[in-house]
């Protein structure tokens, strides 16, 4: 993303086009992160995340990686808030929403994709919330340990430990089932 830094500067100066480019660059990863966390309205929350990014853009200072980390920190906080709200409401529609959102239009691919996504989701649900957050921030958001630690408000060592345990738990789960992902 060579132009992300310039887009951030332009967007901070009020450029709508620059912010739209930022949205196109980061919104898919943010939406994926939220989806794996089983957020009910992924598109709506993604828009909320970027609305907050837009509102707080004037207070941001840093480079591209810092901006990416900042965006996913906002997304994570939004996800935690949504999870707290979801604890007070039934989750019946959430699975349907996640599977429907992954549809690509091809029936066979959709079936395989849904199965794959379902399997991955089951694997992720076997993790603790912190382990899941660490893995998703490391893989989906492509953040380094330090940025994940800042996003989760944890020490880098604790994040590294969470990461190892999450990988070990997934490996154990995969070998028990004997199925590749």
């Amino acid at each position: 993303m060579p132009g992300l830094a310039a887009d951030v500067i332009d967007a901070r100066d009020g450029s709508v086009q620059a912010f739209e480019r930022i949205f196109r660059a980061l919104a898919p990863a943010v939406a994926s992160y939220l989806r794996w966390h089983r957020v009910a309205d992924v598109d709506g929350m993604t828009n909320e995340v970027f609305a907050q990014v837009h509102r707080k853009l004037g207070s941001f200072s840093g480079d591209e990686q810092g901006f990416r980390s900042w965006v996913f920190t906002i997304a994570h906080h939004r996800m935690v808030d949504d999870r707290r709200r979801a604890a007070r409401r039934p989750l019946v529609a959430d699975l349907v929403a996640v599977e429907e959102s992954a549809a690509t239009g091809d029936a066979e691919e959709d079936a395989l994709g849904v199965l794959g996504h379902t399997r991955v989701r089951e694997l992720l649900e076997s993790l603790s919330p912190d382990q899941r957050a660490v893995l998703l921030l490391r893989i989906v958001a492509d953040l380094p340990i330090e940025d994940v630690a800042r996003a989760l408000d944890k020490a880098p060592g604790a994040v590294k430990a969470l990461q190892h345990r999450a990988l070990a738990a997934l490996r154990r789960q995969l070998e028990r089932e004997g199925h590749p992902v």
């Binding site: 332009d10 100066d13 009020g14 450029s15 709508v16 086009q17 620059a18 912010f19 739209e20 949205f23 196109r24 919104a27 898919p28 990863a29 943010v30 939406a31 994926s32 992160y33 989806r35 794996w36 992924v42 598109d43 709506g44 993604t46 828009n47 970027f50 609305a51 837009h54 509102r55 959102s101 992954a102 690509t104 794959g116 996504h117 991955v120 694997l123 893995l135 998703l136 490391r138 893989i139 989906v140 492509d142 340990i145 990461q163 190892h164 345990r165 990988l167 070990a168 738990a169 997934l170 490996r171 154990r172 995969l174 070998e175 590749p180 992902v181």
Partner: protein
């Protein structure tokens, strides 16, 4: 208590046996940070096939981030457009705002300069009159350019001597002529407001129409009536500098204005009023109006001498007596001299040109 045996600690907490966590953690904890990064990137670190399922899982997770492109919702788009202008317009907008600020500052500075200059009466006469007339509308009294014709001011046009106006009754103090009320008949520069002379000097007025001929005066008993005074010919405009085309020698700098319009013809003299016992002398017909003549080659600021209608103008002093109330102390020139009036234009017929 019957439940005491069930809650005995030894049977309730299972022994751990072999360390399962350590067993499953071993392949992970032995990886270096870079190998973990490779694993999370979807590659199998060090050819360890045991980690292939994990690499596959990471690939699926990474691929999911590219599957769907969310769209910007209407609320977010509204926020984007409401909070900030488009970047393409932002520089222009900022530039326009700066230009507006600079324009406003320049306008304010120009107003201050004009105000100070007008207060000090140092502006060119046309600008001075414009500023003073504008200031009068908002209740600020500023000197006019005509006020410069006061003694002691060497940088302005010398004071104008005002003589009686031909064609006017010397005893008549009522305004007579287009510049009525402009003076008091004694050379004063006082101007009542509202008269034609109050117009701004920057607009070049047409040449003054000829003064109507004075009707013949009834003669005293036993004497013939005074013949009518011929009409004063129209006066041309002055060249640039200090003269107003409509007011020859009036000290109005209007060198760049348009040419003066031709003067209007004079009104014919009225017949003498009966009242004397002597024979009434028929009034001379009024001279036809003389069109304004083109300006002569006077220097800027030093207009060519244009004597007043009474021939009392001095070099460099234009007469403003045209249209003024006549000085009651000065008699009307005798008949027969009307053809020698020094105020008569030398080159009638050609329009004045500035």
């Amino acid at each position: 208590m019957s439940h005491s045996g069930e809650f005995s600690g030894a049977s309730r907490i299972p022994g751990r046996g072999p360390d399962v966590r350590t067993e499953w953690m071993a392949p992970i904890t032995t990886l270096t940070d870079s190998e973990v990064d490779d694993l999370l990137a979807g590659t199998i670190p060090g050819g360890n096939d045991d980690l292939a399922p994990l690499a596959g899982l990471a690939t699926v997770l990474r691929g999911s981030a590219l599957e769907e492109q969310p769209s910007i919702g209407p609320e977010l788009r509204r926020q984007l457009h409401a909070a900030a202008p488009p970047s393409d317009l932002a520089p222009v907008h900022h530039l326009g705002r700066r230009a507006a600020v600079w324009t406003g500052a320049a306008a304010a500075a120009a107003l201050v300069v004009l105000g100070v200059g007008a207060q000090g009466d140092v502006l060119p006469a046309s600008v001075q009159d414009v500023v003073s007339s504008t200031a009068e509308r908002i209740g600020i009294d500023l000197p006019r350019s005509a006020d410069r014709d006061q003694p002691g001011r060497s940088d302005e046009a010398p004071p104008v001597e005002r003589g009686p106006v031909e064609g006017e009754d010397p005893t008549d103090h009522a305004p007579a002529g287009p510049a009525a009320g402009r003076g008091d008949g004694a050379g004063s520069q006082d101007r009542p407001s509202g008269g034609p002379a109050d117009r701004p000097a920057h607009s070049t007025p047409p040449a003054q129409p000829a003064t109507p001929a004075t009707p013949a005066q009834p003669g005293a008993p036993g004497q013939p009536a005074t013949p009518a005074t011929p009409a004063t010919p129209a006066q041309p405009g002055q060249p640039g500098g200090q003269s107003d085309p409509g007011h020859p020698g009036g000290g109005q700098p209007d060198g760049g204005g348009p040419a003066a319009e031709p003067a209007q013809p004079a009104e014919p003299a009225e017949p003498a009023q009966p009242g004397g016992s002597g024979p009434a002398v028929p009034a001379d017909p009024a001279e036809p109006a003389t069109p304004a003549r083109p300006p002569t080659s006077g220097k800027q600021g030093q207009p060519e001498t244009v004597p007043g209608p009474q021939g009392q103008g001095t070099p460099g002093q234009g007469s403003q007596s045209q249209g003024k109330p006549a000085d009651p102390g000065k008699p009307t020139p005798p008949p027969g001299l009307e053809g020698k009036l020094p105020g008569k234009p030398e080159n009638p017929g050609s329009p004045a040109r500035l």
